[in-house]
């Protein structure tokens, strides 16, 4: 495996065109082909909330080392229409190229750049020649891209064959399209594009999931038996995936009439004794909040992924945000313990989803997995997920035919940890009473003062136990130099661009560090305090307007940030802008 980039040891492709042209699919096919040749890849999409017509694009970055986000510029633009050229020309790296259809009339005066290379290709002509349909122009462009960087087209052929297995005609058409694009890149453009990507002989066996795929696979591995959800961007792909795989996943999948129905189904299923989950985004999460209180009061385990997008209200439906952190921590009336965990990459999406199920059952609380559009829809190459790395732990759930204890079963029996034994409704010799009213240990409704206090305290003993558990399970991750001059602090998907920014700072000899807060509730103030001790200039990096993690750190650790970098235009951070803030902070 060898790579020659324009700026560093990475190459960035941008595939752009109209919605409906298969942009994301093309991007992930290219990503897989490069991954199979031993490269690490990262791919992110950008699309408005329409089905057809408007501008979509997908950025794919590839490197010979692990890569965490898109870069700051584009090395090769694959333009499926003229608009893509005009919109993205200014993002091109010096010496970068544009692949476009030769039928597009592009006057030199229309371009502002004179430091880039144009590669007109017969995209439409090639498709017409083989009797294909217009959407296949993007496959020709993929072949062109591979040809320009000198990559083995047979690897892409393999990806196409696997992707469309059983549809021989589609495979053959796409193969031809790849070959045509590739051939045209060799002749007339042989070696005229400076980036080079040479595959290694062996495929290292990585996978290329999105965050959504990873969460769905994590839920399957955790033994989730019911997934109930209402379609909402950007959480819907989990529903699509699980609906398609329900048999293999051993799961019942329900598209509900509303988010309210979805979350109440999860409560019902979990009460009955199975692991269950739902996922949604801002507006749907608002609708679910009342049931979070129900789960809190009835001590019913619940797993819910909230995919953040910019609000309030409909906001930017297909863009990214970290604006719901404080809302998620406080959602629903009353006080009760819960878990908030924020994965920062696809691998964490998988393993932390498994953990979320364990914590929910062990402490009989709700686990909210807080992600965002950028994390959840982006692809990242990673080692295959290993479901054995997280052992299933259902806590004090006693699955048995008959209740044999002398004393009557009490759903809310008092205990030192606050956790009471759960049994399945249907267990002979016992009845299970879960009550949204304040209740006695059996579950009967009460409004007595002493009983109320006792039950509130019981629930909060669970929070204390949970806090200790979370502090012990790597709730804060640190990356980079221990004796840093500058430390970036963030959570969730900020991890990717922050780690890329560390690479940039490292190349210049700047000692830098990234502190990722993974568990946000119960807030791991001990781990956060340790991670933030003596770390040089601290910069808070968050995709919201009000520095919500900063508020939590101030509240729990009494630490304020001198340097704060907030972004709230719905777009993910680019490494370069984080790098620039770090430079600025260092003076």
């Amino acid at each position: 495996m060898r790579i020659t980039g324009l700026m560093d040891n990475s190459v960035s492709f941008l595939i752009g065109g109209e919605a409906g042209q298969g942009i994301t699919r093309s991007g992930s096919l290219l990503g897989k082909a490069l991954m199979r040749g031993g490269f690490h890849v990262f791919g992110a999409n950008d699309y408005p909330s329409v089905i057809r017509g408007s501008h979509n694009f997908y950025v794919l970055r590839v490197s010979d080392e692990e890569i965490w986000s898109q870069g700051d510029s584009v090395d090769l633009l694959l333009a499926l229409n003229k608009e893509t050229i005009l919109l993205h020309e200014d993002e091109l790296t010096q010496g970068g190229g544009i692949v476009y259809d030769e039928q597009v009339e592009l006057g030199e005066e229309e371009l502002e750049r004179d430091d880039i290379v144009l590669f007109p290709f017969p995209l439409t002509a090639a498709v017409e020649e083989m009797g294909g349909i217009a959407i296949m122009r993007n496959t020709v462009a993929l072949g062109a891209a591979l040809g320009l960087v000198g990559y083995d087209k047979e690897i892409m052929k393999g990806v196409i064959a696997d992707t469309f297995a059983g549809r021989d005609r589609i495979i053959e058409m796409n193969r031809q399209a790849i070959y045509k694009g590739h051939a045209h890149a060799r002749e007339p453009y042989d070696e005229s594009y400076p980036c080079r990507l040479e595959p290694s002989d062996e495929n290292p066996g990585r996978i290329l999931p999105t965050g959504n795929d990873a969460v769905a696979l994590g839920a399957i591995s955790a033994g989730c038996k019911l997934y109930a959800a209402y379609p909402m961007t950007p959480a819907s792909p989990v529903l699509h995936y699980l609906a398609a795989k329900d048999e293999e996943a051993g799961m019942a999948v329900v598209q509900t009439e509303s988010e309210i129905s979805a979350v109440n189904m999860v409560v019902g299923a979990s009460y009955a004794g199975i692991r269950a989950m739902t996922a949604t985004s801002g507006g749907g999460f608002c609708l679910m909040t009342e049931a979070l209180g129900l789960a809190g009061m009835t001590e019913t385990p619940l797993v819910l992924m909230v995919v953040q997008r910019p609000g309030p209200s409909t906001g930017l439906a297909t863009y990214t945000s970290q604006g719901d952190l404080l809302f998620a921590i406080h959602a629903s009336q009353g006080e009760f313990p819960r878990v908030i965990v924020a994965p920062g990459d696809v691998e964490e999406c998988f393993y932390l989803t498994m953990e979320a199920f364990n914590l929910a059952e062990r402490f009989q609380v709700q686990s909210l997995i807080l992600t965002d559009k950028y994390l959840i829809e982006s692809h990242k190459s990673t080692e295959p997920f290993d479901s054995e790395r997280v052992a299933i732990d259902r806590g004090d759930l006693r699955i048995m035919e008959k209740w044999r204890e002398e004393e009557e079963y009490r759903r809310y029996k008092f205990s030192g940890s606050g956790v009471s034994p759960r049994i399945l409704p249907g267990t002979r010799g016992a009845t299970v009473l879960a009550n949204s009213n304040e209740h006695t240990d059996y579950g009967y409704t009460t409004s007595e003062s002493e009983k109320t206090v006792a039950m509130v305290d019981k629930r909060f003993r669970k929070q204390e136990a949970l806090r200790e558990e979370v502090e012990g399970m790597d709730p804060v991750k640190t990356y980079g130099d221990a004796d840093a001059q500058v430390t970036l602090v963030g959570w969730g998907s900020t991890k990717g661009p922050a780690l890329e920014a560390l690479k940039m700072l490292g190349r210049e000899g700047v000692k830098a560090r990234f502190v990722q807060v993974v568990y946000l509730e119960p807030f791991p103030s001990r781990a956060v305090g340790e991670a933030l001790e003596g770390v040089g200039r601290r910069i808070l990096v968050e995709a919201n307007r009000t520095a919500q993690l900063g508020k939590l750190i101030k509240l729990h650790n009494g630490l304020a940030f001198e340097h704060v970098f907030l972004k709230y235009d719905g777009r993910p951070f680019n490494p370069g802008e984080i790098y620039a803030k770090a430079r600025e902070a260092l003076g």
Partner: protein, 285 residues
């Protein structure tokens, strides 16, 4: 053999003396006993309102949820474990105001549960406001000039949602109500039983006397529950004569039978240890 004693709880009942809930609850218990069900295999899911206290007064499994959300929770209990007998309890405010959005979906899914609506045509626990089933002209503190909205007709709602079992009972006729509950519980699919019940605290119109003069039994007039048109016609009756009994009943595929995963037995009994995802990972390579 389940007995009345088995279904009794130590909780002091706080329903108003004379409340229709007493007759309804007694009919539910009698139905459970007469059908030979054990209390451990019954799950009562209740909403918010006077009716919601039912889970304190019947010793089965119980899940007291939030206002209007009985059906989603009850549906999922049944999906998780179809071996359980699931009874949903809701009030008219619960079922036909805030929760009516779930009714057609439970009906079209044909999930096997019995949805018992304590329909007293008034809000009880919140002190007497107009309910969705209150009739036009009903006076209360929220409609001091008399409601100018027409009441919801639960029966036509359920029929038009393709419910496979639609019945109306009367809490003042416990024996008749018991028989309806028994049929509803035995029915494989979604069963709505709307139960007319006087609210002695707030509803001065729809009293025991009001119903006593008006209710008639469908089966005594040769009603054919398989006749949908006739069911619609009878469902529209509300005046001098008010029908009670099984209005409509049809056989239709039950929801949980269609999940491939459930063919391997109840989800609660399926092991979740050692799940292998290597096959699923293939498409990501």
């Amino acid at each position: 053999m389940t007995t009345m004693q088995d279904l009794a709880t130590p909780v002091v009942n706080t329903w108003c003396p004379g409340c229709g809930n007493f007759g309804l609850l007694m009919a539910v218990k009698r139905a459970i006993i007469q059908l030979g069900l054990n209390r451990e295999e019954v799950v009562a899911v209740a909403g918010i309102g006077c009716h919601g206290k039912v889970i304190d007064y019947i010793k089965t499994n119980g899940l007291h949820v939030i206002h209007g959300r009985v059906l989603p929770a009850a549906t999922a209990v049944k999906i998780a474990n179809p071996e359980l007998t699931v009874l949903g309890f809701a009030g008219d405010g619960d079922a036909y105001n805030i929760g009516i959005g779930h009714l057609p979906h439970a009906a079209r899914r044909n999930i096997d549960l019995t949805y018992i609506v304590h329909d007293n045509l008034v809000y009880g626990l919140t002190t007497g406001q107009t309910s969705p089933t209150s009739k036009r002209g009903y006076r209360s503190k929220t409609t001091p000039r008399g409601s100018f909205e027409f009441g919801v007709n639960p029966l036509t709602q359920a029929l038009s949602a393709d419910a496979s079992f639609v019945a109306r009972g009367y809490a003042g006729d416990m024996h008749h109500l018991t028989e309806i509950f028994k049929q509803a519980i035995a029915h494989e699919g979604f069963a709505l039983v709307d139960v007319l019940q006087p609210c002695v605290a707030w509803n001065r119109v729809n009293t025991y006397d009001f119903y006593k003069e008006r209710v008639y039994k469908l089966e005594e007039e040769g009603h054919d529950p398989s006749d949908l048109d006739e069911a619609y016609r009878r469902a529209g009756e509300w005046g001098d004569r008010i029908p009670i009994g099984v209005l409509y009943m049809a056989e239709r595929e039950e929801y949980t039978n269609s999940f491939p995963t459930l063919a391997e037995g109840p989800l609660v009994k399926q092991s979740i240890e050692g799940i292998d995802i290597s096959k699923l990972l293939r498409e990501f390579h």
